[in-house]
Symmetry: C2
Subunit: 267 residues, 2 copies
C-alpha cells in the first residue's frame, strides 16, 4: 500500500474518480466504484472477486480506519486528500470520505459461470429488476445465505452500479454473477444444466416452506408490480410466500431473503 | 367525493400541502402525507385506520385512476390541479401527481394498544431504528404477515413519515402501532402482559426455524450495525438467522420479513 497525498483536485492520477456520477448512470465500463467503510472492508478482503485499482480517502477518515488498510495489497495506490479536494474531484460531497475504484476485468458469461458450479447448487435469477436498491438487496441476501451465483437478465440493472454495491454491503463483490441476454435464454441454459426452476409468485402452487430443496435450484424473481410474466411462470415450479389475505405485497429483496433462507435451511 | 379544480397555487384550502417537506423532517404533528397510487389505494380502503382530510391530484393522472376514487367518502374534498400548479404548491416536482393528507387523530399509546390485543398475538418491536426505509419495510412486512401491532421506542423514526409510508406500500396505515418511551419501558409492558421477548441477533441461541411460536410473541429488532444492546438481549430469548459464516449481514427489514414469515407459518 502506498499512501499518496494529493494537493490538487486536478491531479490526473485520480481521473477515474471524476466520472463517478456518470458511472452511476451508465453502470458499465471497465471500472466500478466502492464507497464507505463496510464495503471497503469487503473490497480489501479475499472474498472480493475483483481487483482494486486505487483508493481515495479523506484525510480526516484515515485515523478511524483501524486495521482496514492492513489487508491492502502492497502496490495499491491509496490517495489521500482534504475533504475539499475530494469534493472537488467528484463534483459533489462525498460524506463517507472513503472511495475506491474496482476493475471488472474479464467476467465469465452465464454459460461459463454455470459450468463452474458444484453438483449441488443454489442460484438466484433476478429478471427485469431495474431498481438498484432491490438488486443490491438481492446480492446482500445471496451473500448472506451462500447462493452459489446470481444470473441477471440484461433487462435487470448492474449489481456493480455504485448504489447497488452500497446496498449489497459488498455482496456484489462476493457472489459470482453474470448479467446478459433474455430471461428465456437464461432459463434454457439453466434447464439444460439440470436446474429446477422455482418461480416466486403470489399465486404460486406450493408454499415456500413445503418445498423440498432440489439438488440444483434456480430461484426466479420478477419486478415488484408486474411480477414474472405468465410464459416464465409456465416453465417453472411456482412457489408462494403465504401472506395475510388483504395485503399481498412483499418487497422483492425481502422475498429473496425469505426464499434463500428457507432453501439454505432445507440443505 | 367533491372534485374541486384549483386555478392558483396560492389557494388557502390546500395549505396543508405546502409544508410537505417540513413534515418530512419533523415527522410529527396532526397530519401526514400519503402519495402514489398504491398507497392511495390502501388509504381509501377500509384497512386504513386513519381519516383522510383531502386529496390533491394532478389533472393528467385522474383518467388513469380507474376505480380508485370510488371508495372515497362522499364528503372528501378532492382538489385537482395542473402539474405546474401542483409543483407550485409543494415547492418541488411531485412526479407521482397523487397526494393526500391524513389525520392522526387520537392515537392509542402502547399500553392501550397492548390491552386491545387478542390472547394469541404477534407484535414487532423495532428499537432505535432511525432509517425511514427500514421502518417502512418493517411496516410492509408486518402488514403482509398479519402482525397484530408494532411497538416502536421513541428513538425509532415515525412510521407516518412520508417516505416510511411510501416504502411500507401503505402498511403504516394498516398495522396498529405506537411509538413512545424507552426500549426498557416497552419491554416491561410486554412482559407484564404475558409476551415472550424474542430478540434477533447474529449470535442468538436458537435458529429461527427451531423456535416454537409462543402464544404471545414480541419480536425485538435493533438497528443495523450496533444491533440490540446487551441489556436488551439479556432479557430476551435470543434467536439467530443462520448465515454463511463470512458474511453475517442482513438488512433489518429483510430480517423482519424472515422472522414474521417464520412465526406466521408456525401458527
Amino acid at each position: 500500500m502506498r499512501l499518496i497525498e494529493l494537493t490538487s483536485s486536478d491531479d490526473p492520477r485520480i481521473d477515474a474518480y471524476r466520472v463517478i456520477k456518470e458511472r452511476d448512470l451508465v453502470g458499465r465500463g471497465g471500472r466500478f466504484v466502492v464507497e464507505g467503510k463496510t464495503v471497503l472492508d469487503v473490497a480489501l478482503s479475499p472474498r472480493n472477486r475483483f481487483p482494486l485499482e486505487s483508493l481515495l480517502l479523506a484525510e480526516s477518515r484515515i485515523e478511524g480506519l483501524g486495521g482496514l488498510l492492513e489487508g491492502a495489497p502492497e502496490d495499491l495506490p491509496v490517495y489521500t486528500a482534504s475533504q475539499a479536494i475530494l469534493d472537488g474531484i467528484t463534483g459533489f460531497h462525498i460524506h463517507r470520505g472513503l472511495l475506491g475504484i474496482g476493475l471488472r476485468g474479464e467476467m465469465p458469461g452465464a454459460e461459463q459461470l454455470i459450468a463452474g458450479l458444484p453438483a449441488e447448487a443454489l442460484v438466484v435469477v433476478p429478471l427485469g429488476i431495474t431498481n438498484h436498491d432491490n438488486v443490491g438487496g438481492i446480492m446482500r441476501n445471496a451473500a448472506a445465505f451462500g447462493a452459489d451465483a446470481a444470473l441477471f437478465d440484461f433487462a435487470s440493472c448492474d449489481p456493480l452500479y455504485r448504489k447497488a454495491i452500497r446496498v449489497s454491503v459488498g455482496g456484489s463483490l462476493i457472489v459470482p454473477f453474470a448479467r446478459e441476454g433474455s430471461a428465456e435464454a437464461l432459463l434454457d441454459l439453466l434447464v439444460a444444466n439440470g436446474f429446477e426452476l422455482i418461480a416466486l409468485s403470489p399465486a404460486g402452487k406450493t408454499p415456500i416452506t413445503a418445498l423440498p430443496r432440489p439438488r440444483r435450484a434456480a430461484v426466479l424473481l420478477g419486478a415488484e408490480g408486474p411480477g414474472l410474466p405468465p410464459h416464465i411462470l409456465a416453465r417453472a415450479h411456482t412457489v408462494r410466500i403465504p401472506m395475510k389475505g388483504d395485503f399481498d405485497s412483499l418487497n422483492v429483496a425481502t422475498t429473496s431473503g425469505i426464499v434463500l433462507h428457507s432453501l439454505a435451511d432445507a440443505r
